[in-house]
Symmetry: C2
Subunit: 358 residues, 2 copies
Amino acid sequence: MALPSGPTIRALRLFGSRGPRMTRRAPRVQHDFRSYATTLESNSKGLVLKVSEGGKSSPKRLSQLWLRDQTLWNASIASNPPEVSFDSVMAKGDVSGMADLTEKIRGYGICFVTNTPKTPEATNELLEAIGPIRNTHYGGFYDFVPDLAKADTAYTNLALAAHTDTTYFTEPAGLQAFHMLSHTSPPNKANDDSSLGGQSLLVDGFYAAYRLKKEYPEAYETLREVRLPWHASGNDGVAIAPDRAYPVIEASPYKFHRVRWNNDDRGVVPLNVNVDKWYSAARRWDSILRRKQNEYWFQLEPGRVLIFDNWRVLHGRSAFEGLRRICGGDINRDDFISRWKTSNFPRSEVIAANMQLK
Amino acid sequence: MALPSGPTIRALRLFGSRGPRMTRRAPRVQHDFRSYATTLESNSKGLVLKVSEGGKSSPKRLSQLWLRDQTLWNASIASNPPEVSFDSVMAKGDVSGMADLTEKIRGYGICFVTNTPKTPEATNELLEAIGPIRNTHYGGFYDFVPDLAKADTAYTNLALAAHTDTTYFTEPAGLQAFHMLSHTSPPNKANDDSSLGGQSLLVDGFYAAYRLKKEYPEAYETLREVRLPWHASGNDGVAIAPDRAYPVIEASPYKFHRVRWNNDDRGVVPLNVNVDKWYSAARRWDSILRRKQNEYWFQLEPGRVLIFDNWRVLHGRSAFEGLRRICGGDINRDDFISRWKTSNFPRSEVIAANMQLK
């Protein structure tokens, strides 16, 4: 794949609106980012919004190759979620499987890795093939069953609304991976996944931000402008907060950059802003995140690793009974983007783009 | 130590100007940060600049407890560098040594840990007592002798001008630690530290930024405003760049936040800014960093671990002969600040401050 050079076309696709879990109406796609010409096309993949950069764009923007195609999605992604096979990703001497995996995560914010050996060792190996596993106060690669001693809701059986993780770090986790190795029922119950609960939930935060911007532009601006304190205070001896306050939505006029959303980690809305306005905007955002047509529900399965971009995609789950064993880990966004570039583009072009030589 | 509440006095001290390596003239300390009243006092520690917050400060600022005293320094710090003993930091059931260590790193950007057992194991244990060791494409805790395969100047015998590390990460390394375990001479040389070279260099980037702001305010603003690409491209399969372009100096009108400075990692100055102006500002900045009176030179010694804040302090070294074995590791800024807060302040006050409850 060659890097785009000079003014180019980028596409923000709205994921296929004609799948079996079709939403009641096709997503509205009038694109309102400033200073870009937009055209709308219909093809076999659904509605495709093409954004061509106008005369106002600077050379700097054009060289940022990671601003390429992103596909926004809603519940209809369930009909055809992005996936690649473990063997293709791990193939020795052939980078095309890794290129496919990282390109899908870049484009959709999520990808499943199928036919993964149902062991923590294989999962660890898969993640390290993408990049170094991040080390935090919870450790690096993890393999756990519910544990209240961790003092974090992730380690319980509780239902969790859609949220992003580690909002309290200056740099939140980039990629996250979940591999459910087993789900065993309590002694008095049949071992039946559907009755034990624990369905997983994903929501495309960039699509939600796009909806918010369209439907309630003032609320969008409020969540983009008001910087909040975030913190992690559950664990003894640990009291983490970012280097400064950060807004819920980080975005420029021409792209979404990062979403932070976890009420359990949120500090107090600063008193020097219009607090009522912020809470009103947060309610609108929350209602978009909770719309049925935006929620992608599925069951985690042994052998099918979920990897998602925690700067973009929110995750949650329903409550569950019994014992789930989940392994996984985090990878910094920089290491992921590095692997995406080096597996998809010629090295000399990647370095030139990183240096902004062109 | 109780947290300050309400308007308070903060001090930016200029490290003792009367030590044996006294600079030719006392540092000029007229403080020019906006919206703060300043007073100048002379005491046994040198010249102390006190900055009292005026009526314009917001409640938000007051709750940021990590905006407390910072002591700016130059070469004269050599007469009395901050240090704590390994045993006090590692004392079981007594947090005062850790509080002392983290407070010194917070205040000066550097601290030595003396009487450390001369092993990688003890060094690792010391660092993990502060926070989780960061994992990068070079690994986590390291223990190395020069190795060109790493494709990074750090792993050579070359002289290195003062720089910060990992400028190419969205979030550069917070703390860095160096423990020199041994320095053995080449076969034909006496084992004499002073003739083998490898002196270490530290420069207080916040003091240099303070000088730049005083002497060349326009250059200061240029280095604060112009965002540059940074990149790591030396290693096969790795091509890291931050999430966006970052300036050399990140600062608000009332505090210095972070410095990025490494010519080997710097991309091309964007063509949509005044390039000549940027290079002129960079030359002024570089000349301040290279002033003899700002350079703190010393020899690393086995048993004496150096820990410094890579968001503030630049490091370098002279060329050396023979083989040096150095171990160490990086700790994220968030984890360090967490340890600083939890060891120095009551937990309830730390959490309230992190949440901005007060």
